[in-house]
């Protein structure tokens, strides 16, 4: 209910942006800045490019708002733009295949499963999770974040990343396999 209302607000804001309303644009910017910042950081894991990509995203919203057809939620559309801008920026950073596929071996050290439970405090867990996520490809990482952090249905994730639902499921499958290798201690490796 709440979400629908805010979605409607955003829709009317986008319409005003499409008509060249700068006040509406600035309001949208403030509404989305922190969300986009966190999201872009999660996908890229490269703090140095986040602000630049964020501005690219907002500029694309300004120039593309008139093309937004309202069939998806505004946030889906905006996150989709952000996803593609993030991948582009990463590609510019590392033009050569820089993201090892699950098969190739260049991974952060798996966590020692025998270490005493007491040492496994939350902070450490988070660091471990962060490292493991860093080992995924940006495409896999986006699917994982959108599922577990943003708690979106796979259909909406497919819209955001612009690929078929089956591809989303496949990316998740590979990401889970990879995370299992890297996070045995998470209990994720417990069941094969």
């Amino acid at each position: 209910m709440n979400q629908a209302t805010s979605s409607d607000d955003e829709l009317s804001q986008l319409r005003r942006v499409a008509a060249g309303d700068r006040k509406a644009f600035e309001a949208l910017y403030h509404l989305y800045y922190r969300r986009l910042f966190a999201y872009l950081w999660k996908i890229t894991r490269r703090g140095e490019i986040v602000e630049e990509v964020l501005n690219d995203v907002m500029l694309a919203i300004w120039t593309g708002a008139a093309r937004f057809d309202g069939r998806s939620r505004p946030s889906t559309w905006i996150f989709g733009i952000a996803y593609h801008k993030a991948l582009k920026a990463l590609a510019r950073l590392q033009p050569v295949a820089a993201w090892p596929e699950p098969e190739t071996r260049e991974e952060p050290e798996p966590v020692d499963a025998d270490e005493p439970e007491s040492l496994m405090n939350r902070r450490e867990l988070k660091t471990t999770l962060g490292k493991a996520l860093g080992a995924l490809s940006p495409e896999q990482r986006a699917v994982v974040e959108l599922t577990y952090y943003y708690e979106l249905p796979y259909g909406e994730i497919a819209e955001i990343v612009g690929c078929p639902v089956n591809t989303v499921k496949t990316r998740m499958f590979h990401a889970r396999k990879r995370l299992k290798q890297l996070l045995p201690r998470f209990g994720i490796g417990a069941t094969g």
Partner: protein, 245 residues
């Protein structure tokens, strides 16, 4: 008979395997609570019979919890960043309407006057744009320029992302009063160090902290937006001098 049984068993085991795979790949979305009712029921039925998938679901829940606990690193926007964005948008809009504005600017004065008396950065910029436009106008036979000495041009030369520079060329709007100009200068901590050129171009100096990177973009943007100014262009690399009188 036994052979038939074996085949049946194999077939049903293959079916179970397929079901297991299909359900297994849905587990992340079962756990995040976004499956449609039919799919959710299918997953629940399967979980009741499959210990492996129950383990997967537990692990996925654990993972989800860890994700949600991850601190969100998201600062509030810095005003400079918005200013940069708005400057880029201005630039985009200018590009969209450039031919018209530029035509108007050139009609207001002859390009040669501007070229002859402006400093080199301005000259280069104007020359490049004028060359492009002269091609267009030449065809229209509209080359009879009037040489106007004082009328400032409308805004038509800008840079989207200038290099750090301490000096900026400015033409003030005709209707701007001295007091307004002083207030504007104070707002950017600027000082007039040279000018006016025959075209009315002043060289403005901004203090060092405001002269680099983002801050300069903000100052330029501010100048461009103010009504007292009709022409702004940064001097590349903080070159000394500017246009003498």
């Amino acid at each position: 008979m036994t052979e038939e049984n074996t085949m049946e068993r194999q077939a049903s085991s293959a079916r179970r395997e397929r079901l297991h795979e299909r359900v297994s790949e849905l587990i992340p979305w079962y756990v995040n609570g976004t499956l449609a009712a039919a799919e959710r029921e299918r997953v629940e039925e399967h979980l009741a019979q499959c210990a492996g998938c129950r383990g997967e679901a537990a692990a996925a829940r654990e993972l989800g919890r860890a994700f949600r606990e991850e601190e969100e690193f998201a600062p509030s926007p810095h005003p400079l960043q918005l200013a940069r964005l708005l400057a880029r948008i201005d630039e985009v809009e200018r590009q969209r309407s450039r031919p018209l504005r530029f035509l108007r600017a050139l009609k207001a004065r002859g390009p040669r006057t501007l070229l002859a008396s402006s400093s080199r950065p301005v000259r280069r910029l104007v020359a490049a744009q004028a060359a492009a436009l002269l091609l267009v106008l030449g065809a229209a036979g509209a080359l009879g320029w009037k040489i106007l000495r004082q009328a400032p041009p409308s805004t038509f030369v800008t840079l989207a992302d200038p290099a750090p520079a301490a000096q900026i060329h400015v033409v003030f709007a005709e209707e701007a009063s001295e007091r307004q100009i002083q207030a504007l200068l104070a707002s950017v901590h600027g000082q007039i160090v040279a000018g006016p050129s025959p075209l009315g171009v002043y060289t403005l100096q901004v203090p060092a902290p405001a002269a680099s990177g983002d801050s300069l973009a903000v100052v330029l943007d501010h100048l461009r937006r103010s009504r007292e100014v009709s022409f702004v262009v940064p001097m590349a690399g903080g070159a000394s001098g500017g246009q003498g009188r």
